[in-house]
Amino acid sequence: MDISTVLRRTGDVVAYLVIAAALVVFLFPLFWIVDTSFKPFSEVFSIPPKFFNFSPTLENYKHVFVTNTEFTTGGTASSVSTGFQHYFTNSIILAATSTALALALGTATAYAFSRFRIKGANDILFFILSQRMLPPVVVIIPIFLLYRQLNLIDTYQGMIILYTTFNLPFAVWMMKGFLDEIPKEYEDAAMVDGYTRLQAFFKVIIPQALPGMAATAVFALITVWNEFVFGLLLTSEVARPAPPFLVSAQTVGGIDWGQIAAASTIFVTPVIIFTFLVRNYLLRGVTFGAVRR
């Protein structure tokens, strides 16, 4: 072996070691939360920390849904709901509904920009994109005032309208990217066969665009699912999603980290599953469809 081969081999080994170290660093927090969520109360805070040498329990998961303290009323122990189920259900309702609406409106708008000549198309598209660049705290004050006027604070309707609008720029840009890739000859051929423009859109283009729509929907779902500021400031109880609840749970009567770990695990699991489903679209997703592979 000459010296350059030795150098290259050493370089490879160092590279793999660094990648392995990076994997450990980036995955450890996730592992640690899941690990903690199965620990009995007494082991959660132990130093040195227990990694695997504890007897796993589902107590923490129970306490996500019903309170830790069990009240004794007339001799029978009864536990009180923490409300997590309510907030978690709200997150599902808000994310699903607003994603469906944003996807429908966004696909239609994207189709128009993809297929028709529209005056000032670039300016309008840029205007749409710029809406997503606004810091949430900047727009939230007037939205708060507007919603207070319209009695939309802490309502499903209010939050759905807000999250739909929040995801619209993303949906338009993503879907425009996908629709641009579908040859227009497809619908031309359909229209020659007697389809109207709308029929061609629904029966030819939409089926072709379904994978793109699915990817866009997943990103929109995750965005709403993870959103915190609007949920915190525009809801209090009825329409409150899970993230503000997760945060408030840590301040009431000390911090039960086992419970928070369990709640976080429940909250994060769907996101990780979805991330794996759209792994090939991640690049498009995080750049609003601007960068494709």
Partner: protein, 330 residues
């Protein structure tokens, strides 16, 4: 192949209306068909209407409020105050210190994310078994909710029972609960804790975009350089860097604007403390508007933030145009 979306490049398809007329739909029926023009309008109008209602109208309203002394919880309506709110903000030394805190955070975290993310991407360009899985796993943190990330790190950084201090104590540098650092409540360490959480979450973003940029560089450029016996540094400096730079600038633009808006992590992780050491401008804006109910001033501050975001975007875009110009010539 990396393509940047350029709406102008899409050939306009208005002429396909002509194709529709070839289909010879009886004139009687055609009258009831929607023309392409109407479809375009119906497809675009709801989106624009919603954006005007939720984004533009509130922005105009808050511009007006920024010139008043309005408070959301006072019974009296807004009263005109001219540019007083803006003058107060510029005269307030604490606000400029919050801007400094935010700017430092942006530079430190985006800088580290860039270096680590790009470095890892260079290493990950090698092919090895399990590479795809490794990349996907490395990308997970950026898909999580920032508040949940804040909670993770708050738990791990606890001085009393945090696993982070325990790892440090293994090296013999400190003793847990005695001499180990208080990550969440000490100066100057706590601002760095915020940076650590952000770097953990967003380095994957830089990694993802760097990988895309690197894999788009045509192989033959390197092969040509190897024929000329070019050094590794020469190849990096004259092939790799100029070709990925435009894409990296886009990544930096996204991250800078996002980091500048940072609210969730200080809210959960540090509560803006100790003192005001991690009070980002977004956090202060929230505090001003929803705890102190100083709506007028907070609207003015919001507008200053908005102008800064637009300015950052413009600087990057100008740079980007120059960079892609050089990439094309080089």
């Amino acid at each position: 192949m990396v393509k940047t979306a350029r709406p102008a490049d899409t050939p306009a398809e208005g002429s396909s209306a002509g194709a529709a007329s070839i289909t010879a739909i009886p004139a009687r029926r055609r009258r009831f068909l929607l023309t392409d023009r109407w479809i375009a309008f119906l497809f675009i109008a709801p989106t624009i209407a919603l954006l005007l209602f939720i984004a533009i109208f509130p922005l105009i309203w808050s511009l007006y409020l920024s010139f008043t002394n309005y408070s959301v919880n006072s019974p009296t309506g807004p009263q005109w105050a001219g540019i007083q709110n803006y003058l107060n903000i510029f005269a307030d030394p604490s606000i400029s210190s919050f801007f400094t805190i935010t700017a430092k955070f942006v530079v430190e975290s985006v800088g580290l994310e860039f270096i680590i993310g790009f470095g890892l991407a260079l290493l990950l360009m090698k092919k090895f078994p399990g590479r795809g899985l490794a990349v996907t796993l490395l990308l997970t943190p950026m898909m999580l909710a920032p508040v949940v990330v804040g909670l993770f790190w708050k738990f791990m950084m606890s001085q009393q029972f945090g696993v982070l201090n325990w790892f440090i104590s293994l090296t013999g540098a400190c003793t847990v609960r005695v001499t180990c650092p208080d990550w969440l409540n000490s100066y100057p360490l706590t601002p760095w804790s915020m940076v650590i959480a952000d770097v953990w979450m967003w380095t994957p973003f830089m990694l993802l975009i760097s990988l895309a940029g690197l894999s788009a560089i045509p192989r033959y450029l390197y092969e040509a350089a190897e024929v000329d016996r070019a050094s590794a540094w020469f190849k990096f400096r004259h092939i790799t860097l100029p070709l990925v730079w435009p894409l990296l600038l886009i990544a930096l633009l996204f991250r800078t604007i996002d980091a500048f808006k940072l609210f969730d992590i200080p809210y959960v992780l540090t509560g803006a403390g100790p003192g005001d050491a991690t009070r980002t401008i977004s956090y202060h804006l929230y505090d001003l508007a929803f705890n102190q109910y100083d709506t007028g001033t907070s609207c003015a501050l919001a507008y200053i933030m908005l102008v800064i975001v637009i300015a950052i975007a413009n600087i990057y875009i100008r740079y980007l145009n120059r960079a892609s110009e050089t990439a094309r010539q080089g």
